[in-house]
Point group: C2
Chain length 493, copies 2
């Protein structure tokens, strides 16, 4: 009899129902809600948070977890129990006083940051960030004590379970040796290219219709999801009802298009999660890095593939009429243009990892106590010079103040972006080994080959394995940055 396990599973299912409502209410807040609704919505969501926190910290749980671990369980149940314990550990590691101090300090810092950033006000920002960092260090210390991991690893584990900073150092270290040189080579290589820019304006309704056509091409199931508009595009909702958003500008066709393709990768991962045990932690998406590996599989590996431009071009012509920029070769050049810059969220595929490496190195030093807030500008300036050849001195707003992550207390998240890019390259390398004609498949629009591989190797596994084991099972080897390097060299040189 698995009575303790069954009890735990029933509690998980109950939380999951509430998480469903939370997820839809948050999506609505971003996509629909009129401004006067915000205060009541925030209070309602806070009440739900408090309910979920109460369920996650129920004093009955430790005994139930211990009893369930002694029960005879099959492999899937055991994996589920591991995930239930992980969630319990992170929900219970922090004393209530620390949780509320963090909430307060993060909200204060983030709120002030919204006006300090445009004002380039580092001096105003630094004291708030110091407080946020002090509490993040305490959080890391608590999580470290409960998990046995190092402090930074304990934060990283919240986003990428099983990933360790030693592993990140190993793979990012490899990138660091060849990335700056590759960036220079690509920029030199592209200097001679002729690229025709699309000529707008591009009516928003036509962009929306184009987005839906592309999502259809990418296999998004509109019976189980929607595409809407929000200021900051994201993929929310639940696996049974995925709520994607994007944003449109009349002058810029490609931003919304590639954003839609990116979010469709997140969306299909969610739609493709196994229905068995739905609602249990084991049936949820594995991690932030794995999620990003799906959005980047769609946006970069597939969406920016030279042959994919041949599939996109007729859709662009359908919605906006023919123009020289839509010629497939030109379209591909547009989508793979590399240009080192200051801003991470505007970076191309080749320079993006440099932004992430810099942030990882700084935030790890901050959390481990090897650097302080006052050291950040100098570390930033040196890193940007070193990695991207950019001078950022005195430009805090486009430097260490540009991201919401630190002001909102999210340390340990940044590596996931580039881990995702590396996983995605590794998936496509594995696909190509299994199916050498993959590029011909893409050119011919046989995209099902890609989706089937991702489904059977990633989506259907959900959280059954920790990330390193999933990577090994899906691709036959541990995370190997050589695939990412080979991908960039073959696509950009």
């Amino acid at each position: 009899m698995n009575t303790a396990y069954a009890d735990l599973a029933a509690r998980q299912l109950r939380s999951w129902r509430f998480i469903h409502l939370q997820s839809i209410a948050q999506w609505d807040q971003a996509a629909n809600m009129p401004p006067a609704g915000n205060e009541a919505r925030s209070l309602a969501l806070a009440e739900l948070d408090s309910l979920l926190h109460g369920m996650a910290t129920d004093p009955a749980l430790p005994a139930l977890l211990a009893a369930a671990e002694a029960e005879p369980l099959d492999a899937l149940q055991r994996a589920n129990l591991r995930e239930i314990r992980r969630a319990w550990r992170s929900a219970n590691a922090l004393p209530a006083s620390l949780v509320s101090a963090k909430t307060l300090a993060n909200a204060r810092c983030e709120h002030a940051w919204r006006s300090q950033r445009p004002a380039n006000d580092w001096a105003g920002f630094a004291p708030n960030l110091r407080e946020v960092l002090a509490l993040a260090r305490q959080e890391a210390e608590c999580l470290s004590q409960s998990s046995g991991l190092s402090r930074y690893d304990a934060l990283l584990d919240l986003y990428e379970p099983g990933m360790r900073s030693s592993e990140v150092v190993r793979v990012f270290g490899a990138l660091r040796t060849w990335l700056p040189g590759l960036i220079r080579d690509v920029v030199a290589h592209q200097a001679a290219e002729t690229v025709v820019q699309p000529v707008g304006p591009f009516a928003v309704d036509a962009q929306k219709a184009l987005g839906r056509d592309v999502m259809q091409l990418l296999g998004f199931n509109f019976e189980a999801g929607r595409l809407d508009v929000s200021t900051h595009p994201f993929c929310g909702g639940v696996p049974e009802d995925v709520r994607m958003t994007t944003r449109y500008r009349e002058g810029d066709l490609l931003q919304a298009l590639m954003g839609t393709i990116h979010e469709t990768g997140h969306g299909r991962y969610e739609q493709g999660l196994p229905r068995e045990l739905l609602g249990q932690p084991v049936a949820r998406a594995r991690s932030m890095g794995l999620h990003e590996s799906q959005s980047l599989s769609f946006e970069m590996q597939l969406g920016s593939h030279p042959a994919f431009a041949g599939l996109l071009a007729p859709l662009l012509v359908k919605h906006f009429g023919a123009q020289p920029a839509f010629e497939p070769g030109n379209l591909h050049r547009l989508l793979t243009r590399v240009s080192p810059g200051l801003i991470r969220v505007e970076a191309d595929e080749v320079t993006y990892p440099a932004h992430v490496i810099l942030r990882f190195e700084i935030e790890r030093a901050l959390i481990e106590g090897e650097a302080e807030v006052d050291d950040v500008p100098a570390l930033w300036d040196a890193g940007m010079q070193d990695l991207l050849g950019q001078d950022t001195r005195g430009n805090f707003k486009d430097g260490p103040m540009q991201d919401i992550h630190w002001p909102s207390g999210a340390f340990g998240y940044f590596p996931c972006y580039t881990l995702g890019a590396m996983y995605a390259a590794q998936w496509f390398a594995a696909m190509r080994r299994e199916r050498p004609q993959l590029d011909a498949d893409i050119a011919a629009g046989r995209l099902g080959v890609v989706f089937d591989w991702l489904s059977s190797h990633i989506w259907q596994s959900a959280s059954r394995y920790e990330t390193p084991e999933l990577v090994q099972r899906a691709s036959g080897e541990p995370l190997n940055p050589a695939h990412f390097e080979a991908h960039l060299r073959s696509r950009y040189l």
Copy 2:
């Protein structure tokens, strides 16, 4: 010290936060949700129901209620406590076994009804309805024991607090004496009228834009609400964020237009509720009948006023170009066309009460045990002949099977529709007494006069008074069907 009262109020506020999420999730289910999301959504909403039910039946409540009733409270707090006790009584009157039996039987009957109705299958429907009725009688009995009201009154009190069937009999009895004759007179009077029909098609996007213009004219606050599309139009959301829906047909301009005006009345009532004590029962809309009095104030008293056609006409021309049907006099004739028919939801303002009186008489007899399900067809046929001169023999689908109320177990609701129409006529009679130039105000577009009256007399009172007291305070007299009769005679003859 009001410690028990403060505890109760805090619990109400907590429930209210969850009701916010429930309301948004239900609106989303109707307006946005793709079909595959339905099962997960229903399970999530059921989980929330069960949470709210648990809070409403907390064993600590009886002692808290008793203690609070002994505390020194101001008038508003005392009214709030009365409403808290009312909600507690209805949530706790039914044994859990009856609640679940009802849920099951109602769902089974309603589900089968969806295919039995188009098949005109009374024989298949009757056994299910018998079960639903048996449980509704038990519910009425339980509510009656806990409230001291008669059985039907105990159900009616769920929708129209303070209203008694003796009062409904009094006012509906008055209607019954003059309504059938009035209908005949109006039909004869309109026989000679020339009415030009609008010529479509009317593009849905233009209808939506027209709807928004009309809502603006009617003072809807788009900073605190939205207009969307659903199969069955309704007004949902919360007072801070009202979610109205309507539906559009390209061939029928006026249905969506008048539906939008109707829902705007509901919406403005919600938006106009007092912000003081928001979240407490005393700050919520008073009742179903009062709510309907607002939608009918907007749709019938104001929206179908001859002078309002002069405000509508330019908006129709703006969105669809000029055509003879949009001439104000013709528009008014279109909006006030009377034609006895079989279907309540398609009925005009004059014949609608006949449909309601029939249902009230039958459902009251059913609940009080004076009639059985097998008696319904004969009662229906006789009533329809008597009230509307319609032959319904053998036509169950357009007869007693036409409404969702009975198959879903909602007995006691029907009177609210016509109570609402009578309240609305009484509000406008009171307005005219205070402001004899009201019709000129409407003709000149000075609609703020109407909204200010409704706000100060109805919206701002929220649930402070029970319905009969609110009616007396707002209009200076008890519910008086003479105002409704005078309204119909002056508008239609």
